[in-house]
């Protein structure tokens, strides 16, 4: 998009200042609201003497960060991030070929899809302890739990994209007698890319959830474990600090996938996402 030329608008200083304030407000509205909310939170805690184990004020949450050494924090962050990323990568690596198979073969689709739905319908939180018993205490069960919670949206969205390819595009391919492999590679797969990435974005958040759920069941490290551990000792500010880090992690993960999409497939982003 090209920016509108500056000469086509009114040049009066007052009008310009007005527009400038408007632009700044639009950009700053969301962070300002956030800061305002934090302020209200802080004031309310102090004003009403809310016990810190019920709701600690933001200042106390920030201060609680120093109670743990930085290396310990990084240990917890890395433990959660490692599981989330490994589960996410496994999920992507398995989901895309699976979606290809489902889209290519109606028989596979009829037989496999009901099984996928059953797996998806099983509450992962309920299965998590069973998986830990089956697979032990290392990263593996946690990665499997993350995988289970993230793979379904990716499979479904990718298969949907592959099958939603307009008939005319397929006609174009068939009229050129290019064969099904090239039809898949040149037409159906690129067409599914925006579908795939919208699922990949959703799954980033799910991956963090999966890792935390797994840590709740069995772990010696990780932000989810830290929340579980802190609350049992009424260290609620520390739990809030860990929670804040989880949110930040989730947001960064989400953003990273959007950036990757823009890097690999810039055409697939709508104007708003770019």
């Amino acid at each position: 998009m090209r920016a509108p030329a500056s000469t086509d608008r009114s040049g009066r200083p007052a009008a310009r200042a007005h527009r400038l304030i408007g632009a700044v407000l639009r950009r700053a509205a969301s962070p300002l609201t956030f800061v305002l909310l934090l302020g209200v939170w802080e004031l309310a805690c102090r004003q009403f003497n809310i016990p810190t184990f019920i709701l600690p004020p933001p200042s106390m949450i920030v201060a609680s960060v120093t109670e743990l050494e930085p290396t310990r924090w990084f240990g917890h962050i890395w433990a959660t991030l490692r599981v989330a990323i490994l589960g996410y990568l496994a999920s992507t690596a398995i989901s895309i070929p699976l979606a290809l198979a489902l889209a290519a073969s109606p028989i596979l689709s009829r037989t496999l899809f009901p099984i996928l739905v059953v797996v998806q319908s099983t509450p992962v939180v309920a299965v998590a302890p069973i998986i830990v018993v089956m697979l032990g205490h290392a990263d593996l069960p946690r990665v499997v739990i993350t995988f289970l919670i993230t793979f379904f949206p990716i499979v479904v969205a990718t298969a949907t994209g592959l099958l939603a390819t307009p008939r005319e595009m397929i006609d174009l391919s068939r009229s050129l007698r290019a064969g099904t492999a090239r039809e898949m590679l040149h037409i159906r797969l690129p067409y599914a890319v925006p579908y795939l990435f919208s699922a990949l974005r959703i799954s980033t958040t799910l991956a963090i959830i999966g890792a935390v759920v797994a840590e709740f069941v069995a772990a010696e490290q990780g932000l989810g474990y830290l929340i579980f551990f802190s609350t049992s000792f009424f260290k609620v500010p520390q739990a809030f600090a860990a929670l804040t880090l989880l949110v930040a992690l989730s947001l960064c993960f989400f953003r990273a996938v959007t950036l990757l999409q823009g890097f690999l497939f810039p055409w697939s982003l709508s104007g708003e996402q770019r």
Binding site: E168, L172, R174, S175, L176, R177, V193, W267, S268
Partner: protein, 258 residues
């Protein structure tokens, strides 16, 4: 010499006994000569697009026979290029990539000779300066120009067009009609042009096959007695007016249930 396209008693029935049969086409018989511009004109739902898909070898008739240059159609053929109702451009390629796409898709690679040919075609359709643009930066009319250039890349002898300008606004549509005539005179092709617009058919074609629906069949084959090259002035010729009003009466005379 064999005609470019020959339909002999072609019928097309969709669906089976279980889900309700629909006779889309009934006993179609017509020839299209080499480098003739034939418009297939009819109301929506008369099976016009089925005629195109049959000619392209994308589907096969329930009865009857279709020949391209005397050879029965059993699969899509290299001498046919298609322009669809929508441009169907691929957003993952730029404009030039879309024009060279048939080569990449058919043979897996694009040589510099084809890139040059694609640039010449873009020049022919008036888009020489847009080779590197994203396709979503182009207007509807420009996108359809790219689709025409793409259909011409493999130098097909027969061009099939399925209501190619029907999604465009009225002004662009008229402009594209004249553009098509210009392109057609620069690169003569056998042209089968599907449309539901009577003036468009009369303005562009050498001959018009008027179709009626349920089941789709050819009601009349009309020669267009208008001299070429045709221009805006053609629209006000008496012969143009006579033919359009004749066809309009023909199509309205039949009771239609819609």
């Amino acid at each position: 010499m064999d005609p470019a396209i020959r339909f002999a008693n072609v019928s097309q029935v969709f669906g089976g006994p279980s889900n309700g049969r629909l006779t889309a086409l009934h006993e179609l018989t017509f020839d299209v000569r080499r480098h003739e511009f034939v418009a297939v004109l009819g109301p929506s739902g008369c099976g016009k697009s089925t005629v195109l898909r049959l000619t392209a070898g994308l589907i096969f008739p329930s009865a009857g026979r279709i020949d391209i240059y005397g050879m029965k159609v059993v699969e899509p053929r290299d001498e046919i290029g298609i322009v669809f109702q929508r441009p169907v451009l691929l957003p993952w390629f730029d404009v030039l990539g879309n024009v060279t796409f048939p080569m990449r898709h058919r043979y897996g690679r694009v040589t510099s000779a084809e890139v040059n040919r694609a640039r010449d075609l873009l020049d022919l359709v008036g888009l020489a300066d847009f080779a590197g643009h994203r396709v979503d930066q182009l207007s509807g009319g420009m996108q359809q120009r790219v689709a025409i250039a793409r259909a011409l890349l493999l130098d097909p002898d027969i061009l099939l067009m399925d209501e190619p300008f029907s999604a465009l606004d009225a002004l662009t549509r008229d402009e594209m009609g004249f553009e098509l005539l210009r392109i057609w005179s620069a690169q003569p092709k056998t042209l089968l042009f599907i449309t539901h617009s009577i003036p468009e058919a009369v303005l562009l074609a050498d001959r018009i096959l008027v179709m009626t629906s349920r089941p789709g069949s050819i009601r009349e084959s009309l020669d267009v007695p208008l001299a070429r090259p045709r221009s805006l002035a053609t629209l006000s010729e008496p012969a143009f007016q006579d033919l359009t009003s004749h066809i309009r009466k023909e199509l309205l005379a039949r009771p239609r249930i819609h």
